[in-house]
């Protein structure tokens, strides 16, 4: 048997009740696909939305206490500015004074956009070009189509380089795909389709692993599989 660090089945009645209520809620949700939409499903869905919102508020407030309120109380008076800006966000709800809420949004948008714009080009453009044109070193046939290719994986190197050339040509958006460029863009779309195929395969692995865990939970509560 595969050794899994099994947690003992609880003896405390409240914990056992917890396991069964969790199972009931799971079956309530899956009654939608496995049967049809029904009141029990809607009840369970609204329970989740309420719980998620309550957690969100409590955890955010706890973090706010640590990072803003306690420092303010212990003398860091500069902290009053972000707290006031935070309150300005709520002017979004007052149509006539909505412009007040634009200043805190400006700081949020300015900081995240500024950071995103500055830090994106290096890893997402420059490093990608460098990696595409770096020839494979001999002996590093780590993911070779032909394992143990003595001179390094030139097949994969050419595949990626030519693929990037065609796919980038496909994404030229203000020039028509006509004349000699046409076959290159058609090939580019096929490279993109292959990528979406692999993406589809990995998405299925992700979704099925999640659903498998739920199936295991059913068996765990019934005591057929260790917790």
């Amino acid at each position: 048997m595969i050794g899994n660090i099994a947690v003992a089945y609880p003896t405390d009645p409240l914990a056992i009740a917890g396991l069964w209520i969790a199972l009931f809620l799971m079956l309530a949700i899956y009654s939608y696909p496995l049967w049809k939409e029904n009141p029990v499903y809607r009840f369970a869905e609204h329970t989740f939305i309420a719980a998620a919102l309550a957690i969100g508020i409590i955890v955010n407030l706890t973090s706010l206490m640590n990072t803003a309120v306690t420092p303010l109380m212990s003398g860091n008076l500069l902290m009053i500015i972000p707290i006031l800006l935070g309150f300005c966000m709520y002017f979004l709800l007052v149509p006539k004074q909505r412009w007040v809420s634009r200043y805190p949004i400006a700081i949020l948008v300015g900081s995240s956009l500024g950071l995103g714009i500055a830090s994106n080009p290096l890893p997402s453009i420059v490093n990608q070009i460098i990696s595409t044109v770096t020839p494979p070193k001999a002996g590093t046939a780590v993911w070779a189509m032909f394992p143990g290719a003595p001179t390094g994986d030139w097949f994969s190197f050419a595949f990626v380089a030519i693929g990037c050339l065609c796919a980038t040509t496909y994404f030229l958006l203000t020039y028509e795909h006509i004349g000699p460029v046409k076959p290159v863009t058609i090939a580019g779309r096929y490279f993109i389709m292959l990528a979406l195929g692999a993406y589809f395969g990995n998405t299925v692995l992700f979704r099925f692993s999640m659903l498998a865990e739920r199936g295991k939970y059913l068996l765990q509560v019934l005591g057929l599989v260790p917790l």
Partner: protein
């Protein structure tokens, strides 16, 4: 004149904050006062942090408004909205007790461990069902694009599943090659094109040509 602080000033603030972030990123340690703990960019990032923390209330108010409207209009969803309000209020009280006293009451732990965890994992995994039924009825190679996608997908599926190797040694070899190399041209181009798109979108937002953020800005 009065419109200035309603629109132009906002763009100036956005632009200045963005500029500080860019200077910090590129020239950080060489310009005194910009980079490092306690300097301008760190302070602005701390302000952004606190504003985000306080913004959670907006989401709560919006959701409570939606459900209040359901109750006041006595729609068919009214009973669920009433349950939402009641359960939300109960959890919030338990949470405030923990916030105030630092003591986590047993009902609080019990609800999160058994109610929240189960519902979260269950709702998130529901897509697995839809993928499976769509595969039976809709994933068809109706054109070359869909054919390449499905063939690539099948090879990766049989490379990810251990049984693929048992059936034929070629599945892990070709499937893993698709995963490690085959998908890279497409994915890498998405990355590069997406990054260029973000630069364009960011530039338009910084010069005030992107109206999504400020909802009312004409």
């Amino acid at each position: 004149m009065s419109q200035i602080y309603k629109r132009e000033m906002v763009f100036i603030v956005t632009g200045v904050v963005a500029l500080v972030m860019m200077l910090d990123y590129f020239f950080g340690k060489n310009i005194p006062g910009i980079s490092g703990a306690g300097n301008i960019s760190s302070t602005l990032q701390t302000w952004a942090l606190i504003i985000q923390l306080m913004a959670i209330g907006l989401g709560a108010i919006n959701l409570i408004q939606v459900h209040y409207r359901q109750i006041s209009r006595k729609t068919n969803m009214a009973v669920y909205s009433a349950w939402f309000m009641g359960f939300f209020a109960l959890l919030l009280l338990l949470g405030f007790y923990k916030l105030a006293t630092g003591v986590e009451l047993y009902p609080y732990t019990w609800i999160f461990k058994n109610v929240y965890v189960s519902l979260g994992t269950t709702l998130y995994a529901i897509t697995g069902f839809y993928i499976f039924s769509a595969a039976y009825r809709a994933f068809r190679a109706r054109n070359i694009d869909a054919a390449i996608l499905l063939i690539g997908g099948i090879f990766v599926l049989l490379a990810n599943a251990p049984i693929g190797e048992v059936i034929w040694g070629g599945f892990p070899l070709i499937g893993n090659w698709f995963n490690n190399v085959g998908q890279v041209p497409g994915m890498r181009t998405f990355t590069v094109v997406g990054a260029l798109g973000l630069l364009a979108f960011g530039f338009r937002a910084l010069i005030g040509k992107e109206r999504g953020f400020y909802s009312e800005v004409q």
